[in-house]
């Protein structure tokens, strides 16, 4: 599992990289501030009114804005509103001309970092700019920490999931193995008895039921053994694109008879994958079958199959517009024997097997779902170098 997490850097603001926007209708103040700030190493731009300021903010990223409160046309408070609605990271220091402390307080409430009163002392401005940069740096670090925490939690959940599945897999393999011999007896004797021409019709019917049901047991046991497989039966370079196309060929007819529109977004070529083509095909077929069953009987059903390469990974997504997966069962869908299908329709092993196979291929299987909108399953596989 990928557990490399970004380590937040120390919150030291870099002046060279920090963009400061000076917004004032007085050219003298603009020039003075931009010279002083540039001398400190900041990248300074100026705007003569609110409109120009907003245009510049839309064009590039600034870390700090020094904004005059009293400007013609678009005033400082309006600029502040516009900034807040665009960029929550940009710190704004308001500059007020004459004792309008109330307006300054309003600006603070609207999210300005601080205010200075004109005529101002240059050291005071420089100190404020530096402090506001520190604040934005702290905010960036906090954001990074939050993301790291989220990733850790996700990794933790994944770990629990794969541990749980591994445990169940071992148990299942043991049980399946023990059941194989007695099941051989049931199936074998049933088939031998069926060879007898002198059977009464009812006896034959009963025997056929025994035989059919024991075959079902055999399928379940084989699925279980497959799910708990620890090693790769095959390890070879796989043409993923051809494999996907072959899988779709197989399900095309089923999908069209179920009234499902199959949309393919496949690139002209995909990189090679290392692994077992049959197992991977099984994953694709399983996901397609699940999608088909989820959408069965609905109007305007569509299955979108999309594949793309991103860096050293390949993603294959299966997006349906079915009913979606209820939030309360999302944590269980990979559990063996968990199924929403009616008794006898599904063994509840399909997604468990898919999960196991994708893991063995050093990939990830994940999903997104919204009730009433649909579900997307994504298979992520590493590219074969």
């Amino acid at each position: 599992m990928d557990t490399t997490l970004p380590v937040p850097s120390r919150p030291v603001p870099k002046k060279q990289a920090s963009g400061v926007l000076v917004i004032d209708d007085e050219p003298g103040i603009r020039n003075l501030l931009s010279q002083e700030l540039a001398a400190q190493g900041y990248q300074v731009e100026t705007a003569a009114d609110g409109q120009e300021a907003i245009q510049k903010i839309d064009r590039r990223k600034f870390q700090v804005a020094l904004c005059d409160l009293n400007m013609p046309h678009v005033g400082g408070l309006e600029v502040l509103d516009a900034i807040r609605s665009r960029d929550s990271d940009l710190e704004v220091i308001m500059m007020t001309g004459y004792g309008t402390v109330e307006t300054a307080v309003t600006a603070m409430k609207k999210g300005a970092y601080d205010f200075v009163q004109k005529p101002f002392n240059m050291d005071e401005i420089l100190a404020l700019v530096e402090k506001s940069l520190e604040k934005s740096e702290f905010r960036r670090v906090i954001q990074e920490l939050k993301e790291t925490k989220k990733r850790l939690e996700e990794t933790h959940i994944q770990l629990i999931q794969s541990e749980k599945l591994a445990g169940i897999g071992q148990l299942a393999a043991g049980v399946a193995h023990e059941l194989n011999n007695p099941l051989s007896g049931v199936m074998g004797f049933a088939q031998l008895l069926l060879e007898d021409d002198k059977l009464m019709p009812q006896q034959r019917k009963d025997l056929e039921t025994i035989y059919e049901q024991s075959k079902r047991c055999r399928t379940i046991i084989q699925n279980l053994l497959q799910f708990s497989r620890r090693e790769n039966p095959k390890n070879e370079p796989v043409q993923l694109l051809a494999l996907l196309q072959a899988s779709m060929e197989l399900v095309k007819y089923d999908l069209s008879t179920s009234g499902i529109d199959l949309v393919q977004k496949l690139p002209p070529s995909l990189p090679l994958i290392f692994g077992d083509p049959h197992q991977l095909q099984q994953v694709f077929m399983n996901l397609i079958t699940n999608a088909r069953q989820a959408m069965e009987g609905r109007q305007k059903s569509q299955l979108l199959i999309e594949a793309k390469q991103e860096g050293d990974k390949v993603f294959v997504c299966f997006r349906d517009n079915g009913p979606g997966i209820a939030p309360e069962i999302r944590g269980k869908i990979f559990d063996p024997f968990f199924t929403t299908k009616p008794t006898g329709k599904g063994t509840g092993l399909g997604l468990s097997i898919c999960y196991g196979i994708v893991k063995q291929h050093r990939g990830h299987l994940c999903f997104e779902s919204e009730v009433g909108v649909g579900t997307t399953f994504a298979v992520e596989l590493p590219v074969y170098e």
């Binding site: 011999n181 099941l183 051989s184 074998g188 004797f189 060879e195 497989r229 620890r230």
Partner: protein, 122 residues
């Protein structure tokens, strides 16, 4: 003379099923309930096909297969590995142990006959 098949399996039901199916298809069947017995009968009876369960007491199927291959008089006896493991790599392991073919349990009487028929006609 009918082809002779040795069924080596510690599970009595499995032996009985294979025996019934193979006899009905015209094979001559002999049986062994463990690995040691299987090896002895192989040497004494010189079967045309050995149907060999891989997990048996005393000597397991892997060991039996190796010893059969080391015995010059039996070196070319076809061995069909019969296993309940169905685990990945078992087919390769069976080949490496000297088996010629592979049958996964639980399998049906007809499948047993079909597999044996690949190596010897009744």
């Amino acid at each position: 003379m009918a082809a002779k098949v040795l069924i080596a399996d510690d599970d009595a039901d499995n032996r009985a099923i294979a025996q019934e199916a193979l006899s009905a298809s015209g094979y001559q069947v002999i049986m062994a309930a463990n690995g040691e017995e299987a090896l002895e009968k192989c040497i004494q009876e010189r079967p045309d096909v050995l149907l060999l369960d891989m997990s048996m007491p005393k000597l397991n199927g892997w060991q039996v297969a190796k010893r059969v291959r080391q015995t010059s008089s039996l070196a070319h006896t076809p061995i069909v590995a019969f296993t309940a493991h169905a685990l990945a790599g078992d087919d390769i392991r069976a080949k490496e142990a000297g088996c010629d073919d592979y049958l996964v349990k639980p399998c049906l009487p007809r499948e047993v006959v079909a597999k044996v028929a690949r190596w010897a006609t009744p």
